[in-house]
Amino acid sequence: MLTSKTKRTKRMTRMTSVVSHWLDVPSTDPDDARRRKLLNILLAGIAALVLLALAATVIGNAAGLLTASERFLLYQTTILTLIGIAVIFAINRYWSGQIAGALFLLLLLAALAFSDEPKQVADGRALFLFSIPILTASVILRPWASFIAAGLSGLEISVIALRALQGIPPVPTILGLFAVALVSWISARTLERALADLRAINRELDHRVEERTRDLAEALSRNQAILEAIADGVIVFDTAGKATLANPAMAQLVDHPPEEIIGHDIKALANTKVNQEDLQVIGELLRDTHRDYPTLKLEWGRKTLSASFAPVRDDSGRRTGTVVVFRDFTREAEVERMKSAFVSSISHELRTPLNAILGYADMLKEGVYGPVVEKQAMALERIIVNGQRQLNIVNDLLDQAQIEAGTLKIKVAPFSPRDLVEDVTSLMEVLARSKGLTLTGHVANDVPDKLPGDRQRLRQILINLVDNAIKFTAEGSVQIQVYLPDARHWAMEVTDTGRGIPLEAQPYIFEPFRQVDDPTTREHAGSGLGLAIVKQLTNLMGGEVVLKSQVGHGSTFTIILPLVPIQEDLR
């Protein structure tokens, strides 16, 4: 049923196209084409009427209704008309619309002369018949041709009137014809102007479309050039996870030609080159529309790649897929690994002899190799203090390198804050005493026996802060305090009675390799990393550093850390 309907529609379409093929006249001037088509339509209509008349004549003749003279007249008229139509059609189609139109009008006027009794033509009752050539002239020739048609009609009527009635020409009828001509001239002209305007608008529209198309093509080819030239691998996945676009760099990265990439999902692309865990993360990032799109680092075969994800949306904001940009980080990763390995190996090499120096100095001081006089003990003390300081600098550099490389890990386990404070106090006491300072440690009663945290890193923070406090305090004391500032946090605080830090210097003392710009700084030389590491470690632990200081009134560094409950498996 459906097919028969389709067939019917198809047949109709074909017939329409055949008809319009014969009615249309190819012409460069759209007005001319329109007029000639109109003439063809008129001719076709008249031809159809004449054919009907011919059929009626044949039937009437068969029924014996016609006399011989009538039959002759009818056959003659219809056949002559058909020949005339064919001639005009041929002229119109293959030669000139103007000539065909003029010929048509003349024939029409001639035919009209015999349309009625001469008397009726002459007295104006046939006026409506004569408006046909006037209207036709205005649409198939030119708008002003209506006046010519009116003139010719008037002439014809006058001749008929003079010959038939020997009277005066029918002036009101002729005036009526000119009135019709005026109306059809105005209508046809208005119509032509409207059509001309429409054509102008169309031309403008065509021009704009062409311009936009060119712009679009230009933009597309520019984007294409960028995509082809870019060193990063660009791949677009649709919402079903299948690749819809991949640039040459992507093809090179994954070692497949683009045509082998398109239509496949990430699993097929990665094959066995990416581990399951990374694949799963990529899969989630491709599906997830709500998450932030972070950069992922992953191993792809022997390459190290970074992958950035961004959603692709259409004009209405609907997500149509995800674009992933892969960058080859293999060299950078290798350099990073070498740098890390170098730093850790050089730190080890620097520390080993320092450890020996410190160990032997300590043994000498402890009298292992015989009694030590007071001056010798003092010299050994200086060796130990300075050796320790150098060791701290080496450790700082190593830590800074690890923090920068992102390889420093925070390991949270329950530890005793009281032990920690005691440990640091006893360790730093020597240094404090050597400057004549008192170092005290205090843990508030409500602080629990165990807190969660990375004891080693907390110890390092505390040592750095105390070391810094001792460095910049000439007399007085350095205090360590541990307390609970609120229900969700705990705090470690180091307060000194030193010279304080100027307000303008406070924002940048936590930057690496930065010390307060001061002539006395030189004598307190250090790595300049101590406070930077304190801040970075504190941030890694999810805490914050608060500094309160006023020149001449000492400084207080407070480390505020979250008091998260100790996890069951770490207890």
Partner: protein, 134 residues
């Protein structure tokens, strides 16, 4: 080598000779009899024939890792009473709960190991061995 056969044996496993000297001085001062191994292979060889009261173990050794030696001490029945002091330069390793919670490991020391600290520790250990309570 033996000066007093009643003194408990301490085995120092340390590849850095300076560090080894400092450790043995500290343990000798606390009246231990001291033996030194500078490689893991050497240490395992010694542990086949002796049952030290305490092993001072540097975790970073050439050829045989400190962890393997610790495993051997843990599994060998003959070394049931041997106690271990771990020495490491690695803060992260020192903080490793898995290592901290091993029964045999009585202390983890991070380098630089101060003579006086190890001396104090050795003296305490000596007292506990004499008192019979590990």
């Amino acid at each position: 080598m033996t000066q007093n056969s009643e003194n408990p044996l301490a085995l120092i496993i340390e590849d850095d000779p300076d560090a080894a000297t400092i450790f043995s001085q500290a343990l000798q001062a606390a009246e231990f009899e001291v033996e030194t191994a500078t490689t893991g292979t050497q240490a395992l060889e010694r542990l086949k024939y002796t049952a030290p009261a305490v092993v001072i173990l540097d975790m970073h050794l050439p050829y045989v890792a400190g962890a393997d030696i610790l495993d051997y001490i843990n599994t060998e029945p003959r070394l049931m009473k041997t106690q271990v002091i771990i020495i490491t330069g690695d803060h992260e390793l020192a903080n490793d709960p898995a290592l901290q919670q091993q029964g045999r490991v009585i202390q983890i020391l991070v380098k630089p190991v101060i003579y006086s600290r190890l001396h104090d520790l050795a003296q305490l250990l000596k007292l506990s061995i004499k008192g019979g309570t590990p």
